[in-house]
């Protein structure tokens, strides 16, 4: 099953005369992982924005899970993202006014499509959130405020939340760039395990060549 297809994908920011992404083509099977790298300003984050459906792609250039994102309305793309995609940022992934556990539960609580994957019950949501946290060795932190976590812990909580409700595709934008080696490895290990477990594809943006080994495909962007 095909997870992601780019066919001559281009993107130009409004108001700019030069496209930031130009003629990208690629096909990724479900469960395969993609490593995206390139210098700063080369458009890595912009690419993830397109994949997530935040930025509008042109028709027939980008297909995710069988859906041509270029032909969808913004609302449809939001719904699609809500149902099928998990997103991890470089930093500050968590809502400061919720506990660790609540942050992990958030997608399933907010998004009906995610909730439905967990048979909808509140107890099921909680169980799944706890399971994800324990898979990342964070079970003791479940009831803490996110402000009491280290950056590494925060990123792993973000990974757990992204996996809530088993999204088919995980988009991660330099999730380990703020971490030391040990924390980076912990995070990558957890992410890869969870992806394997849920048969999710991981699209990861990073400057760190050491991570490339875990990925079936690589995409290098040039400015």
């Amino acid at each position: 099953m095909i997870c992601l297809t780019m066919k001559d994908l281009s993107y130009t920011w409004p108001g700019q005369d030069r496209p930031i992404l130009d003629g990208l083509s690629l096909q990724l099977s479900q469960g395969e992982h993609l490593y995206v790298h390139g210098p700063s300003g080369s458009g890595k984050s912009s690419l993830l924005g397109l994949l997530a459906g935040i930025l509008p792609a042109a028709p027939d250039q980008l297909n995710v899970l069988g859906l041509d994102l270029g032909k969808q309305s913004p609302l449809k793309r939001d719904r699609f993202r809500a149902a099928h995609l998990g997103v991890i940022f470089q930093q500050f992934n968590l809502l400061s006014y919720l506990s660790v556990l609540e942050n992990v539960e958030l997608p399933a609580r907010m998004i009906p499509e995610r909730r439905n994957k967990l048979d909808g019950k509140a107890s099921a949501i909680r169980d799944e959130a706890k399971r994800l946290l324990s898979r990342l060795n964070l079970e003791e932190l479940a009831d803490r405020s996110v402000q009491q976590l280290s950056v590494g812990q925060q990123q792993r909580v973000a990974a757990a939340r992204a996996m809530m409700g088993s999204p088919e595709v995980l988009l991660a934008d330099e999730p380990s760039s703020a971490l030391d080696e040990k924390n980076r490895d912990l995070l990558m290990q957890g992410l890869l395990e969870l992806c394997k477990e849920h048969e999710s594809s991981l699209v990861l943006v990073s400057h760190d060549p050491a991570l490339a080994q875990h990925f079936e495909q690589q995409l290098e962007l040039r400015p």
Binding site: G49, A52, L85, V87, F89, F92, S96, R109, M110, R161
Partner: protein, 621 residues
């Protein structure tokens, strides 16, 4: 939606300080809005409930609003009265079904004391034609009987059998009290929710007595309560009084008295209705002073009197004021300017053998109509200025007895006319409150057989030549009152709406100020799949929560405030503030506040949504 609400709530909780401040400002403005509206509404309701079935209120000419306020709502005071004659005349008109006299102007611990008659309880109606009902006890016919309103009983903690000493004048107890004659609570009324609940009702004659006592500063303990209502009792029976061998005499029981002899220190000041006093033998009176005797006859044996300027003394014929020595009566009717000589003045100043020094006795006895209707028992009259053997020094006795009427002094005791102490009377001036002279009323309410007569009767009353009266139609004057109050109400309402707008703007401002630091939060939500519409809703929900919280807090604050303010407002305006309750009016205003809050929050909501859309997954901080 439910989760958005939880999220909004948690987000607010996270920044609780600013949220609390916003909440407070909304609460305060809401309390003001609801409070102003409530008081406005309640005032109108209270006023229109308070009287029903009364076709006309008749009072002295002046402001119709004043008459209505004083007679029905016990707010403000009357500074004039309606004479007993006018009351009788208009009450006996064939169109009139009933009439209720009211004597107002006194109070007990902030509760109005109302002198009235049984007619009040028979005919007065409030609300939708409800009559006053006595919950327990009865009024009774005793002069000291007092029937009290429900709230008066509660607030003053009075029960049947308790004694009440009336302060003189309205308001607090700063005035002189007369402990000598307490009223006794004989009954308590059922609650009515009108000013009746506040009132202490006494027989109108008792009210007169109270005032006379005050004028007199003396003791009139047991008077005939019926004297007022049987004006004929007056002096018809005074033929042949026997005042024999009075030394410091006793005028009690004047029926069949003959031969007033040996009076020392007697004074009849301005006897208005003494025409029928015949056969008085005031022989051997020493130190008598008859100021303004009207129609006294057969006063014999008086000598040496000087009745200077008797106003209505044309009928002083054959008076024999024996043994009066050296009295200089200068202007008996009013200001006694006693210079250098012995003298007496309007009241009962029986001068034995003493001299008023060179002073200026500015005794101003305005309009003394002494009606000595002597009843069956012996009473001591307060006007015993029998000067035995003491001298008024060179002082200035500024007695000012404003307009009083001793019409119901039944049974005067003019005993002990010697060794009298004048001291009490110096500087007694109670001119700053007004109560009607005995025999007259402050106002009276009438009900007609046929309401349609009201206009014609009103017209007639306004043109009544005997006395300057006005007849007030309660409904019409209430409308007048609303018109007066309307502008103030509108202004208050406008101000409170304005304050609400300011409170809500504060909320919008705090939401806007937070917008920048919440861009990360919005990006996270967007990444999860929250739509821009939901972001918009989130901000609106936060505003809603703040508004609802403000409304609840404001209402609670208002409820508490009203409860705390209730006694003060009651005391000050006679208006009983109901405790706070939520009615359709309140909900309407709350809805308006919520709506306004939502409209004002549109700005931060839309801006947040736009920036969230723009930022996407990577907010630029």
């Amino acid at each position: 939606m439910k989760h958005l609400l939880i999220l909004a709530f948690r987000s607010l909780l996270n920044r609780r300080l600013s949220a609390l401040l916003t909440l407070l400002s909304i609460a305060l403005s809401v309390a003001l809005l609801l409070g102003v509206e409530r008081i406005r509404h309640q005032t109108q309701d209270h006023f229109s409930r308070s009287v029903s079935g009364t076709d006309l209120i008749i009072g002295p000419r002046g402001s119709s609003v004043q008459v209505l306020l004083a007679s029905v709502f016990r707010i403000g005071a009357m500074n004039n009265a309606v004479s007993g004659e006018s009351f009788a005349y208009w009450s006996q008109r064939p169109e009139v079904a009933w009439s209720i006299p009211l004597s107002l102007g006194d109070s007990f611990r902030g509760h109005p004391v109302i002198g009235t008659t049984q007619a009040y309880f028979d005919h007065f109606r409030y609300g939708r034609g409800k009559a006053l009902v006595i919950a327990e006890g009865e009024w009774g016919s005793g002069l000291d009987a007092m029937l009290i309103g429900h709230r008066a009983a509660r607030d003053l903690n009075l029960k049947i059998g308790d004694q009440v000493v009336i302060a003189h004048g309205g308001g607090d107890e700063s005035f002189v009290e007369h402990g000598d004659h307490p009223f006794t609570v004989t009954g308590v009324l059922e609650p009515t929710g009108t000013p009746v609940d506040q009132g202490l009702h006494v027989h109108i004659e008792a009210m007169d007595r109270l005032h006379q006592e005050f004028e007199a500063g003396g003791d009139i303990s047991k008077m005939d309560p019926l004297a007022r209502f049987m004006p004929d009792i007056d002096l018809d029976a005074h033929d042949g009084h026997d005042h024999s061998t009075h030394e410091g005499h006793d005028h009690g029981n004047h029926e069949g008295h003959e031969d007033h002899e040996g009076h020392e220190g007697h004074d009849h000041g301005q006897h208005d209705e003494g025409e029928d006093q015949k056969g008085h033998d005031h022989s051997a009176h020493e130190g008598h002073d008859h100021g303004n005797h009207k129609g006294h006859e057969d006063h014999e044996g008086h000598e040496g009197h000087d009745h200077g300027q008797h106003d209505e003394g044309e009928k002083h014929e054959g008076h024999d004021h024996s043994a009066h020595e050296g009295h200089g009566h200068v202007d008996h009717s009013h200001d006694h300017d006693h210079s250098g000589l012995h003298h007496a003045h309007g009241h009962d100043h029986g001068h034995g053998a003493h001299g008023h020094g060179q002073g200026d006795h500015g005794h101003s006895h305005a309009d003394h109509s002494h009606d000595h209707s002597h009843g069956a028992e012996a009473h001591s009259h307060g006007h015993d200025h029998g000067h035995g053997a003491h001298g008024h020094g060179q002082g200035d006795h500024g007695h000012d007895h404003g307009a009083h009427d001793h019409s119901s002094h039944a049974g005067h005791d003019h005993a002990a006319h010697s060794g009298h102490d004048h001291g009490d009377h110096s500087g007694c001036d109670h001119g700053d409150h007004f109560h009607p002279p005995a025999g007259s009323v402050s106002a009276f309410l009438i009900g007609l057989h046929d309401r349609r007569d009201a206009l014609a009767l009103q017209f007639e009353i306004q043109r009544y030549e005997e006395e300057a009266l006005q007849a007030v139609m309660p409904g019409v004057t209430l409308l007048e009152l609303w018109e007066i109050m309307g502008l103030v109400e509108k202004l208050l309402f406008g101000i409170s709406i304005f304050v609400v707008a300011v409170g809500l703007s504060g909320m919008a401002l705090s939401l806007l100020a937070r917008m920048q630091e919440r861009r990360r939060e919005m990006a996270i939500l967007r990444a999860i799949g929250v739509t821009p519409m939901q972001i918009f809703l989130l901000i609106q929900l936060e505003a809603l929560l703040l508004c609802v919280g403000g409304l609840i807090l404001g209402s609670l604050g208002l409820a508490l405030g009203l409860k705390l303010l209730q006694p003060a407002v009651l005391n000050w305006s006679g208006l009983l503030l109901d405790s706070f309750s939520l009615g359709p009016q309140e909900f309407k205003f709350m809805f308006v506040v919520l709506l306004l809050g939502q409209v004002i929050s549109l700005l931060p909501s839309i801006l947040s949504t736009r920036s969230a859309l723009h930022d996407g997954l990577s907010p630029k901080l």
